[in-house]
Symmetry: C2
Subunit: 454 residues, 2 copies
């Protein structure tokens, strides 16, 4: 028997980690619900055709496909061989695989809305917190199974939704006591920039190049722009655009000078202004106009968001934006929407690094009853059940072993109190209770124990 192991890029989560992750997820969930968002859960598996072609060529390669069952049926072998040939030729064949694992939560959501839009109350506000799977090369901080945590509104073009989502971000990170900067830009401003630099058709080239600024730096971005056919004057304009800096107001002034003549630019600037103006102050959260923000995904059409944790070196811990026509991918047109996502794994790492998880979330057993023999245990068991009925997590040690072993169990499980009912206590209707934090110990009546522990 070879030693068991986990697939590369996957993890077991032990109790301490589950408690911390749930603290993050529940904080986000509560805020989502305060803002009128309702939960949705979609299956881990989607039809392959639902996913393929939605994430670009690179994304398609990272989708985990599920082998059809029954391939070992000899009657089917000829057909199956032909099907394998198709897979070998680079085409996935339905005879081999027709299902795949969820790659993100956005496309399943779009699929759900396309299937159910007639029944949904619009604007439809949903949140979704589920794992996704990607066949990425595993590395530090990058896993093949990880949680996404999204909120989207569809069926509304109102900028109020962007304002609400900005406040959801702020409220969550305020509750998590995690200082952040929410960065916003608008794809309309990027369209305006492209218009100024030789035409709106350059928009995607410019966006793709700008999106790499953080990783490759300004010189490489200029090389990339040149490679994508932009001339020296156009590249100079883009460089000027990327160098815009200062306070929100200063940046907006500089940008207005650059693209303020283009209608899309005017629109985009007005949106940014509105959000900045109506953003409520949060002590630990800044809202910042960041015109270097581009976001890779092509479906964004309006405001785009990104969240950076302050004081730690970590990529974005959240992002999102407005899209005009996501369900159009599934044949249902004209349902505009806007959404945001939380990077739960990165938020976890940041909270860990800042030592910002509250101690109270490590819920454990509060009381351990020692096992001192069958008769005593039977009596202890009744008291134990009374504690549980009152909501106190309690256990009885499984065997009548030496006290030091029972103490050791209590220590390892971080249990606060030990209760001992020996022969004498049983006869007297009392129990010995020991506080393992302070070390104090006293003998009290069984009734008194019920109040003692509150």
């Amino acid at each position: 028997m070879s030693k068991p192991s986990l697939p590369q890029g996957t993890r077991d989560f032990s109790a301490a980690v589950v408690h911390k992750r749930n603290y993050i997820l529940q904080t986000i969930q509560k805020v989502f619900e305060l803002y009128g968002f309702q939960p949705l859960e979609t299956p881990a598996m989607e039809n392959l055709e639902t996913l393929m072609g939605k994430y670009g060529e690179e994304g398609d390669k990272l989708i985990f496909k599920i082998l059809n069952n029954g391939l070992d049926n000899p009657a089917k072998q000829d057909a199956t061989t032909a099907a394998f040939d198709k897979v070998l030729a680079g085409k996935s064949s339905k005879d081999i695989t027709e299902r795949a694992l969820r790659y993100d939560l956005t496309i399943p959501f779009a699929r759900y809305v396309a299937m159910n839009h007639a029944q949904l109350t619009m604007p439809f506000k949903r949140y979704q917190m589920q794992p996704v799977w990607r066949a990425d090369r595993p590395q530090k901080g990058r896993y093949r199974e990880f949680y996404q945590c999204d909120a989207d509104v569809v069926g509304s073009s109102s900028l109020l939704n962007e304002l609400e989502l900005t406040h959801i971000y702020a409220s969550v990170f305020e509750k998590l006591k995690l200082p952040v900067e929410i960065r916003i830009n608008s794809r309309k401003i990027l369209v305006a920039l492209a218009t100024v630099c030789g035409g709106a058709d350059k928009m995607i080239d410019i966006t793709v190049a700008i999106d790499k600024l953080d990783k490759i730096g300004i010189e490489k971005v200029k090389e990339e722009l040149s490679g994508r056919g932009l001339n020296v004057v156009q590249i100079a304009t883009i460089e000027k655009y990327l160098q815009i800096s200062g306070s929100n107001a200063e940046k907006i002034n500089q940008l207005t000078a650059l693209i303020g003549e283009v209608p899309e630019g005017v629109d985009g600037l007005q949106e940014i202004n509105t959000l900045l103006e109506h953003f409520t102050a949060f002590p630990n959260v800044n809202l910042v106009a960041d015109f270097t923000l581009a976001r890779g995904l092509n479906y964004y059409t309006g405001i785009i968001f990104e969240v950076k944790a302050l004081g730690v070196s970590m990529g974005s811990i959240g992002g999102g934006g407005r899209y005009n026509d996501l369900t159009g991918l599934f044949g249902v047109k004209d349902i505009p929407g806007v959404g945001i996502s939380f990077g739960v794994d990165r938020i976890y790492d940041v909270l860990e690094e800042l030592n910002a998880f509250p101690e109270t979330i490590q819920s454990s057993t509060k009381v351990l009853f020692f096992n001192t023999g069958a008769t005593e245990s039977a009596s202890a068991f009744l008291l134990l059940q009374e504690l549980r009925n009152r909501g106190i997590a309690a256990e009885i040690f499984h065997e009548n072993l030496k006290f030091d072993k029972q103490f050791k169990y209590a220590e390892k499980k971080n249990i606060g109190y030990v209760v001992i009912i020996g022969e004498n206590e049983l006869a007297a209707g009392t129990c010995v209770v020991k506080n393992l934090t302070t070390g104090t110990q006293e003998t009290i009546s069984r009734e008194a124990l019920l109040t003692y522990l509150f």
Copy 2:
């Protein structure tokens, strides 16, 4: 664009369903924690070799295997063709698939314990609530993705664990207000029966046949026993065993007459007696000795459990048992354990049928602010944020539309209160609040609203 659809046997869960499912899961989770169990989460994917051969031949066929990525790499084609040939020959090849989806929670738990036993505090009590996947033919009540919900204790042979698990069952179903019968038997009694009927080596034959009693009836069970080589006298003994009936005490008396001479029988009877004797009364829960209970899985060695809902026609909604050596599958011997499982989907269906979900679990937005224009909305937004800060779920309608449209949105989302701040209210510092349940409406100050809604 073809209409999007879901893979067979999978489901989307909308908000109303998610709330109901979470009510069940959270009820179970709270009880698990009251009893000192701590959470574990394992990845959706396991190495194929971790799962294969653990669920019997039929089970192996129902495991969803994941296609390796990069199969469309031309450089690999020769090797890949050979690998596909192996799959066609009925052997899964590592070149095609080396990962699979979790089929249950027990084997991943055993794998986890085998990998981590040196670090775990024994007895190790874990609970796990996660989806599993099976390529079963979908039918009413049977899905390809469904939740399992398990609690196991490993590292202890004490019957106290069985007693605790029995009470976990009772406590959960009591809290869910679902009348149930918990049925218990012991594999030791089945060993004793086999001993009486021609030898302990007949144990598996007898167990497999008895396990089908509910589905195929006594006559077919007898045919099956005959087919498995048991003679007329032996079959008559088994029939007598299966006809044992009456109260717990009466059944135990009849069984004692039948197998009370066999040491395993004595052991098994004593275990059953102990559990019955120490079981605390719950108004809606009966604990019943049921000697026809067999449970299909071969790894059980002691007490076995099954839970049936009373008053509805539905298979078991829970089951489990003691096993001596589950981690032995992964090379780590001598870690005995016992576990139970909750059938969440079936519990859901039963609660639905009995109309037993509490109304309060359908949490929704409590207050909708009407949108009466940009200036009023900006002012309403500040009040809205104050409500949210006080924990009240609230929304503002996304656009300044006619009131009937805004009312309709509130109705559809089952929102309790509407707040209107028009031009006059804005000037006066007041708001109109309408209770949509009672229809009453009044104009109050903005400050008064904050207390009005509690």
